[in-house]
Symmetry: C2
Subunit: 430 residues, 2 copies
């Protein structure tokens, strides 16, 4: 039997919306948003889309009208009652009422602010301006939309069975990775792939496949909507935008040097347990740890998001030892450019020394490499970053200079203030 | 929206029927049935299921109750009005009213006769007895049911995503074959895979994938129901059961020697054009052609279904030349144990010398080899053959002694009568 109503309804849609919910976003965005809403609500920021893979000509591939329709659709979204109930009533990281009533009330009334879109050559300039708590929520939907529209552009010219076989191949590829991970003892891994996923439906499939294939080894997803739908743990802590904006707001070099610690001091007041995870690489991991206050060594763990992951883990282990902490009680979360071989290798290398966990991103939710003739579905490096705060440019140094950003003079100033010397470059795949 | 009615209806089913239509069968069965209905309608025959792959313990894998339910379901089927209309009104091989009114009237009132099922060790003995036109129609449903139940037995213990990935792998595997065939110039290929298909739905998928992937290179399917559903050509001519039963009915050696030609003389009266295809191997191709009457050399082509296909094609080409025929006008249909490499090879070898066509069977509709851990879904060699006619055993010699059947003394007699010497054995995969 054909469900006539469904069919008619489907054909009534003006567009096939890519982002259909304000919680189709990373959990850490909401945690950070609450923190910003509390501590720096009036900061004026600018976020900007940056395509690091300039060989992908987004403006040639994606129709501007379609892109505007998708972005406009996101602006029409507001939190549904069920989503609000889930955020207010659910337990996150073992804690009830993670989101405070004043934040929830604000969020329930939120619509995302305007965007600015312009074609520059074969790329789009896409920027968002306004108060920090509002603008920051554009990051994930903007990335998801660009990624998925780029995929659709290719899929549009494919025939029915060709498309089905493409997904069959992608499923097979992902399942073979899951089969590798099944053999990794003591694995704890979460989905961190929302921002650069192939599509929402594909991420949803990937998460469900991880659930079935890995059982308890799969500890949750960063995507709130998918976590809600499948009753999974929502996973995530905080990201570079906090130290980047705090740093940009610093009035002098002394305040700048303290900015990354101020972020974590604010965080310390709100969160405990597994949410106390240091992200040390914004202005160089070594300097950050060396100058860190002692109370930070008491935090639960560290997230390693750039540079050589094993090297960074060794630095953290040594730092904990130097500060009189027991590394075997500490959590190390690897989240940069992971695929299964690297995951298995890092797990084997560190599982007897620290508690290990993985946030698996793009190569979980968007590994379509090698599945189309000219590899036009391979993921690429797209980010959406805070580029200015209260009129001042932001800076990121990272442990990998290929991930650095900011005006050259400010980069030099930050390097001096944070004591960052020569850094090793490594390729940014995604 | 959930279609509530569909869901409730689905859950009301007592079983999930494997064969749901009397035309979910090979087209040549119906052509042969009409011929038998006209020429030998009262012949009493016994058909029997033979599992040549004794390492597959069918009675251990398949529940007898489930098997009976499926067989009983087939006995409940009758030709629907639409099916009857299609058979009466459609054009087959360019001819209208291929099926005569008296045959159609008989077929419209047909229910399949009783079966006899017994467990013998780890195998089932499944036999059908009655008049030839009725009993012969059991062959394809019986094979399809056993094949699909054996697959279901394994699928039953698999989890949801595991099953989805299994089919994803099977789709990928088949599509890669189609991609190979896309590069074979002048290819003409049909689906002959009903009898040993993985399942009805899978055969339907395979046929549609061939349509999209190969376009005009894909000339049709032997499955009437699938041909009807997708408006494709129904393909097929005749099979070994005709000479086997005619031979068993022969009163003496002289009549036996003539039996295979009598089959084709009866066929000659009814059919012309591309339906005049010789199947020469029942009692040895060389002897059959050497002693064939001249009018047979005027037939359109030959189907090569056992032995070395290139060798058999060479024999046919030489035979046509000897009889003053132009081989380049003749059709050679390869249909034995084909896979894409062999297809490409035979096409290259013969396309400039004869008209080449392929009937691709088991490795089109059931290539699940290598897709499960112990390969429990690999196809195996199951046949359902006429074993007796009017109380006399049937005999098949074939060009491959591994495909021979019949009592030893009768096999010796047939070898003598048909002048068959030493034959080369080749493995029967499917």
């Amino acid at each position: 039997m054909v469900d006539i109503a469904t069919r008619v309804w489907t054909h009534k849609w003006k567009i096939d919306p890519i982002v259909r919910s304000l919680i189709d976003t990373d959990f850490y965005k909401l945690l950070m948003c609450q923190s910003v809403f509390r501590n720096r609500p009036d900061t004026q920021v600018q976020f900007s889309l940056i395509n690091r893979t300039t060989s992908v000509p987004l403006a040639d591939l994606i129709d501007e009208g379609e892109l505007r329709e998708q972005l406009d659709h996101v602006r029409s979204l507001s939190l549904s009652r069920g989503e609000s109930t889930w955020l207010r009533g659910n337990t996150f990281y073992g804690k009830r009422q993670m989101f405070r009533p004043d934040f929830m009330e604000w969020f329930e009334n939120l619509r995302l602010p305007a965007y600015h879109l312009e074609r520059i050559g074969d790329q789009y300039e896409l920027t968002f301006e306004g108060t920090w708590p509002e603008v920051m929520l554009w990051e994930i939907p903007a990335l998801s939309i660009l990624m998925e529209l780029r995929g659709r552009a290719l899929l549009h010219s494919m025939k029915k069975f060709e498309i089905q076989v493409l997904y069959a191949r992608a499923m097979t590829k992902l399942w073979e990775k899951i089969e590798v991970l099944q053999k990794v003892d003591n694995l704890r891994i979460a989905d961190f792939g929302t921002r650069r996923r192939h599509s929402h439906l594909w991420q949803d499939w990937a998460v469900q496949a991880m659930c079935e294939g890995l059982g308890e080894k799969f500890v949750g997803t960063s995507n709130c909507l998918i976590a809600k739908r499948h009753d999974l743990e929502a996973i995530g802590t905080n990201a570079h935008e906090l130290p980047m904006v705090y740093a940009a707001l610093a009035e002098d070099d002394a305040e700048l040097a303290q900015a990354p610690y101020q972020v974590l001091a604010d965080w310390h007041e709100e969160h405990d347990g597994n949410l106390r995870i240091i992200l040390p690489d914004t202005y160089g991991t070594e300097g950050f740890l060396a100058k860190a206050p002692d109370w930070l060594a008491g935090w639960t763990g560290i997230r390693i998001d750039s540079g050589d992951p094993a090297g960074a883990a060794e630095i953290a282990i040594k730092w904990w030892k130097d500060r009189g902490e027991d590394p075997s009680q500490k959590l190390v979360i690897f989240s940069d450019g992971l695929d299964v071989e690297k995951i298995a290798e890092l797990q084997a290398q560190f599982q007897d020394r620290v508690r290990v966990s993985f946030g698996w991103g793009t190569l979980l939710t968007n590994d379509f490499r090698g599945l189309t003739p000219q590899d036009q579905l391979a993921p690429f490096s797209l980010v959406c970053k805070a580029v200015a705060a209260n009129g001042r440019p932001t800076v990121k140094l990272s442990d990998n200079p290929n991930k650095a950003m900011g005006p050259a003079d400010q980069v030099e100033r930050y390097k001096r203030v944070f004591g960052v010397g020569v850094q090793e470059r490594s390729e940014v795949l995604v």
